[in-house]
């Protein structure tokens, strides 16, 4: 009789249980990084720059040098940093969007799909804490993927094309150190801007039990906006799209840097991300978990 009540805290919890120790980030990351999906994403992030290097090496014929058109592909091979810029430019519109959507959209919905969500909640991990940890873990994964991509691109590109200065298509050059600094700024901007996709996918993830629906829904939404962005008749409305300013990081190539668009982009992204995240939390707090 007494043996039972001895190990109980005043809150009713069993001894040793502390809400703030449940589902620690390290545990959640351990869980995620044991998944093939996560490993696959990172493998792809390593592979993509290598594939692009191979493709550029194949195409490095005289024909390319004759083509004087201002094009990022043409200067992609001028240095490792240039190559990294090219990789970022090529991946911003689609690839990174998918990666962010995957990391965030998969977070809660996949647990629901496995059926492990209810056991985690009954542990109990407080719902808000569960979401927070999931959100942070997704952020770590997506930013990690972005950094992996950039690091591999810088290193592999440097080995393939030399550790030279950045040369922009119009011929402006930036020194190695300065270039690295700007690159860091670009990555920072991308990491923040892509949060819009991530937060949207996260929100969807709290609604549906199918990870595919969450990821696909977010990607699809972004593409719809990207397509609408091409419709000139919409005019200035497009500046309020969640996809707006997604390429503003290119402004970091200007000297001096013009951060006007990026500032707007960051603010807008943060607002959108906060909104979507809040919607996700709100929905999950009230939701009946029936999965």
């Amino acid at each position: 009789m007494t043996s039972l009540s001895e190990h109980v805290q005043p809150t009713g919890a069993v001894a040793g249980y502390r809400p703030e120790r449940t589902l620690r980030l390290s545990v959640e990351l351990r869980r995620q990084f044991k998944r093939r999906r996560t490993i696959g994403v990172f493998a792809l992030m390593v592979a993509l720059p290598l594939i692009l290097i191979g493709a550029l090496q194949l195409g490095a014929s005289e024909e390319a040098s004759e083509n004087a058109r201002i094009n990022l592909v043409d200067v992609a091979t001028s240095s490792g940093l240039n190559f990294t810029l090219f990789v970022l430019f090529a991946t911003t519109g689609f690839f990174l969007v998918v990666v962010y959507a995957l990391c965030f959209g998969d977070s809660v919905a996949s647990e629901a799909q496995w059926g492990s969500l209810r056991y985690t909640l009954a542990t109990p991990v407080p719902r808000m804490r569960l979401l927070r940890q999931k959100w942070l873990a997704a952020l770590v994964q997506s930013v990690g993927a972005l950094l992996t991509l950039a690091t591999v691109a810088v290193v592999a590109g440097g080995i393939a094309f030399g550790f030279g200065d950045i040369r922009t298509p119009v011929g402006v050059t930036l020194g190695q150190g300065e270039g690295m600094l700007r690159l860091a700024g670009m990555l920072g901007y991308l990491a923040v801007h892509l949060l819009v996709v991530g937060a949207l996918a996260f929100w969807f993830s709290t609604i549906t039990d199918a990870p595919l629906a969450a990821v696909g829904g977010a990607v699809f939404t972004m593409f719809v906006f990207a397509i609408l962005d091409q419709v000139e008749q919409l005019g200035a409305i497009r500046d309020w799209f969640p996809t707006a300013e997604e390429f503003a990081w290119i402004d970091l190539l200007l000297t001096p840097v013009d951060s006007g668009d990026m500032f707007r982009g960051v603010i807008q992204s943060l607002v959108y991300a906060a909104l979507f995240t809040a919607l996700g939390f709100r929905h999950f707090a009230r939701r009946d978990v029936t999965s």
Partner: protein, 963 residues
């Protein structure tokens, strides 16, 4: 998703790309911002349409006007907006609305010969178009809502692009009532624009000062043709006018309408008048004649020069006293930067304030939205200061797009452009002359062939498209043998050329005359060439030496550009003999072209490139990033504190504990769960589970068992009632749930992990000490042996089930909840599971098992709650529920004694008996089983079997059926 378009942000809106768009550009560009969003138009701007008569006699016309009135009641300064060539008052409607919204009375009108206005085009002839402007200003002077400087003199500014810019300049020269002007992408001398020859002495200190050979030039064939074509298309209205037909029929109709229209009876017409109407369209006869001469001969005759000079501000610039904002485009092969430069010089010489703004755009490329918006603000700022005396003094400085900006060219300006600002326009009256850096060029004397008829010809520029270099994705087309090239050394450091460079050449031609085109290429380290803005400097040379060894020195002004030549690049001056945009001599010849005045020996000359010091205007402000960071951090802290407080409040709310909690691990009190669609899964459910019990939750599928368990786990919120676990309210995230182990519907195992890893990670996620987990005991319960280390996805259903149950038992919870635990298990496993559960309860812990199988409940549980359709039907010990009938199955050793046994049993009080399919059944109805057996034995009947008849099926169906 995004097509890879090079390092180009897709955001800036695309302009016209196809060649056919050139005409549209010509029409639209002068309006500057026709395509820009007009969303900013204030709602309280009113408009008044009017047809204003102007001129007298044969030149009397009616002008179609629109007056935009701002909302306020006070008299406001007025702005007249003139449209571009080929446009009408509609072309500037968006600009007008914008200015009106800023508080100006704005008058737009279609110039004579355009839109719905009548009359013939006089190319801004002071006698006609400029007089029309005076008429309009008279009109403004009479209005009460326009601010007045004096009697008949309104406070008025004039703005416009291209043709409209010419109106502004000429108007300010001829009408001193105009108080400020903002002409854009317009000309200084039409002669120099249409018959350029950029050679001769030019001692002006301004950056884009462009020499012009007096009385000669190379006819700018394509542009002039396009220009004339816009105004000369014969219209139905004109022909109607000739035959006296009613005007409404073809008013404003285009060539297409005219083509589809039946021609009137032409026999009654004067053939000369018809020819005039068909070939000259709405042009005045003298202009038409000048064009036709120029187009057929390509030569600048004094007659043509007279017509063009009359329409040029150049001769009358000394009359302009109105502060002038000169806006010129860097993408303009029609009116280059040199034209604005000449205007600036001429106007500033009077002491009139002049500000010069170059922007990335022009007749060859529309500006980006951002640039267009900036220009609008510039113009409005100019009028604010000079008409209203409000706002910041815009000064007399100089602004130009930063040559470091990403890509200019390609028919549109792409990417963000930065602006460089200098205090003064170098070389203007009183200002320091422009800095010119000398770049050494080298190269031998080279022969340059000019082909007969001028074909094949070099291709550099197409009106409205500008630099083909970028537009077609290839190099500019230079014909081998037709050009001479002179290169600089590779540049040690980047050179930013802002303005028109000059170079000394030496040319010899057998006939003494030569038509040449000089241009400055940017040659990259890999040999890729770029012609900045696609601009060329045509040279019409006369009086040349015929002896190639003693060529005549020629001083050439190259086109005005804004371009950055990177370090490692070379500058290359190319002198070619052909260009398809210009009229070329028909005879073939061989010129010799060399550098400088030194002839063969020198082989080198200096290219003097203008440079401008200025500060780049960039939106760099780093402080706001810190502010933003601070705000984000602040909001984060705020959120954290709020979450903390909320959590504390929540804990306090949960702190009500029932005193008998430890004895009643689970209590449902009036719990109801109704879904939004009205379906009630659980209705008013109340029961208790005491310590050490194994409670069975029995009911058919859909009875609400699983919903009840989910509510208990905090997954679903009950709509009403309270669930207490050990006396604490259960709910989402309630700490007391940590005393609960559960297995509900589905294993929830991660398929890619082994069973052991699943259990470990699950325990790690609880955050509780590892030694509390009793992992080994749980693994023993699962009984998987070595399979526990294989990935779960290879498990059978039963194996997963056992791992999941083991997971529920991790940490030996005080309350174990299992939903259908034996599904998928084989009989020995089911048996083992029962043993596990019983012994678990024997330790003082409590187990709840749900099932729809009676036998399962009967064999595992001590207590049972029967549910159906969301309601509790019965509750009690298994015996109570199962044994209510009290029937006994009696097996006799000898069936023949059955009748005797019946009579014996029926002799007992309240007992009835009878034969059934199973054999003899006695319903004791409360009578003791032992007594009944004794009675039978006492009667000498051999009883083989005497068991309570477990009519579970019957009992269950009876209970469920009642509801």
């Amino acid at each position: 998703m995004r097509p890879l378009r090079g390092l180009v942000r897709p955001r800036p809106r695309s302009g016209a790309r196809a060649t056919s768009a050139a005409l549209a550009l010509l029409l639209l560009l002068p309006g500057l911002l026709v395509l820009a969003p007009a969303a900013s138009a204030a709602q309280d701007v009113r408009t008044e349409q009017a047809r204003v008569p102007s001129g007298s006699g044969a030149d009397a016309v009616e002008l179609d006007t629109t007056l935009y009135l701002p909302g306020g009641n006070d008299p406001a300064p007025a702005v007249v907006l003139a449209h571009g060539f080929g446009g009408s008052k509609q072309s500037v409607a968006a600009d007008a609305e914008d200015l009106a919204a800023r508080g100006y009375v704005v008058l737009t009108y279609s110039a004579r010969g355009f839109g719905e206005s009548t009359g013939e085009i006089g190319l801004n002839d002071p006698r006609y178009e400029i007089a029309d402007l005076a008429t309009l200003i008279d009109l403004l002077a009479e209005r009460d809502d326009v601010a007045i400087d004096g009697d008949g003199d309104p406070r008025v500014g004039v703005a416009g692009g291209s043709y409209g810019g010419g109106v502004a300049l000429l108007g300010a020269a001829y009408d001193d009532r105009i108080d400020a002007i903002a002409p854009q992408i317009t000309w200084n001398s039409l002669t120099a624009a249409l018959f350029p020859s950029q050679t001769g002495p030019s001692d002006d200190g301004t950056v884009a000062a462009t020499a012009q050979t007096p009385g000669a030039g190379v006819y700018k064939r394509l542009w002039a043709g396009l220009f004339f074509g816009v105004g000369s298309a014969p219209t139905g209205g004109l022909l109607d006018g000739l035959v006296g037909g009613d005007g409404e029929n073809g008013e404003g109709a285009g060539p297409a309408a005219a083509g589809g229209q039946a021609l009137p009876d032409v026999s009654s017409l004067d053939p000369a008048a018809v020819e005039q109407a068909l070939t000259c369209g709405r042009f005045r006869a003298d202009i038409c004649a000048a064009y036709q001469t120029a187009a057929s001969t390509g030569a600048l005759t004094p007659e043509i020069a007279a017509v063009l000079d009359r329409s040029s501000p150049a001769p009358v610039l000394d009359r302009i006293a109105a502060p002038t904002l000169l806006i010129q485009g860097t993408q303009d092969s029609l009116f280059g930067l040199g034209q604005a430069d000449a205007n600036a010089r001429g106007i500033a010489a009077n002491g009139t304030p002049v500000k010069v703004v170059w922007y990335a755009g022009g007749h060859d490329g529309s500006a980006s939205d951002q640039v267009t918006e900036d220009l609008r603000t510039q113009v409005a700022g100019w009028f604010d200061f000079h008409l209203r005396g409000e706002g910041e003094d815009p000064g007399t400085g100089f602004e130009f797009p930063a040559p470091t900006g990403l890509g200019t060219g390609i028919g549109q300006v792409q990417g963000r452009t930065q602006t460089v600002v200098a205090d003064t326009y170098p070389g203007l009256d009183g200002a320091e002359p422009a800095d010119r850096r000398e770049i050494a060029l080298t190269g031998p004397t080279q022969p340059v062939v000019t082909p007969p008829g001028g074909t094949p010809g070099a291709l550099t520029t197409v009106p409205g498209l500008g630099a083909l270099t970028s537009a077609l994705g290839g190099t500019t087309l230079e014909i081998p043998g037709q050009f001479a090239a002179f290169d600089s050394e590779r540049l040690d450091a980047a050179v930013e050329v802002v303005g028109a460079p000059t170079v000394e050449l030496a040319v010899a031609a057998p006939a003494g005359t030569a038509t040449l085109f000089a241009k400055l290429y940017d040659v990259g380290p890999g040999g890729a060439t770029t012609l900045p803005a696609g601009l060329v400097a045509p040279l019409a040379l006369t009086g040349l030496s015929a002896d190639p060894t003693r060529p005549t020195p020629v001083r050439v002004t190259l086109p005005g550009i804004v371009h950055r030549f990177e370090a490692g690049h070379t500058m290359r001056v190319v002198v070619s003999s052909t260009d398809q945009a210009y009229a070329l001599p028909a005879e073939s010849a061989v010129y010799s072209v060399a550098l400088g005045g030194g002839g063969l020996t020198a082989g080198s000359a200096a290219l003097a490139v203008p440079e401008v010091d200025g500060s780049t205007q960039a939106d760099t402000g780093s402080s706001r990033w810190w502010v933003m960071l601070a705000v984000v951090v602040g909001l984060g802290l705020l959120g954290w504190v709020a979450a903390l407080l909320w959590g504390r409040r929540r804990r306090r709310r949960l702190s009500h504990v029932e005193p008998d909690g430890e004895d009643v691990p689970l209590r449902f009190e009036g719990v109801t769960k109704a879904y939004k669609d009205g379906f009630v899964a659980v209705r008013d459910l109340s029961f208790e589970v005491r310590r050490g019990q194994v409670l069975g939750l029995l009911g058919p599928n859909g009875a609400g068992k699983t919903t009840s368990l989910r509510m208990l786990m905090g997954l679903i919120r009950p709509t009403a009632g309270r669930i207490s676990v050990f006396g604490h309210a259960a709910g989402p995230g309630a700490p007391v749930l940590s005393r609960l182990g559960s297995f509900v519907e589905g294993t929830g195992l991660q398929p890619h992990l082994s069973g052991r890893d699943n259990l470990r990670l699950y325990w790690a996620a609880t955050g509780r000490p590892a030694e509390d987990s009793h992992l080994d005991e749980a693994i023993e319960v699962a009984g998987l042996g070595a399979a526990i280390d294989r990935p779960v996805r290879r498990y059978s259903q039963g194996m997963r089930q056992r791992v999941a149950i083991a997971q529920a038992m991790l940490g030996l919870p005080d309350l174990l909840v299992l939903d259908e635990p034996t599904n998928g298990l084989d009989p020995p496993q089911i048996h083992a599971m029962r043993e596990v559960l019983r012994s678990y309860a024997a330790t003082g812990r409590t187990v709840i098992v749900s099932s729809h199988l009676l036998s399962e409940i009967e064999q595992t549980c001590s207590h049972v709650v029967v549910m159906a359709k969301g309601q509790k039907i019965a509750q009690g010990t298994v015996d109570e529920i199962v044994g209510t009938g009290g029937a006994v199955l009696v097996g006799l050793a000898d069936d023949a004694e059955t009748d005797r046994a019946i009579s014996v049993l029926e002799g007992l009080p309240g007992v009835s008996a009878g034969r059934t399919d199973d054999g003899l059944v006695a319903d004791l109805d409360g009578y003791s089983r032992a007594a009944a057996l004794q009675a039978l034995v006492a009667a000498g009947i051999d009883v083989d079997e005497f068991t309570p008849r477990r009519r579970l099926e019957d009992a269950f169906l009876a209970l469920v059926g009642e509801s």
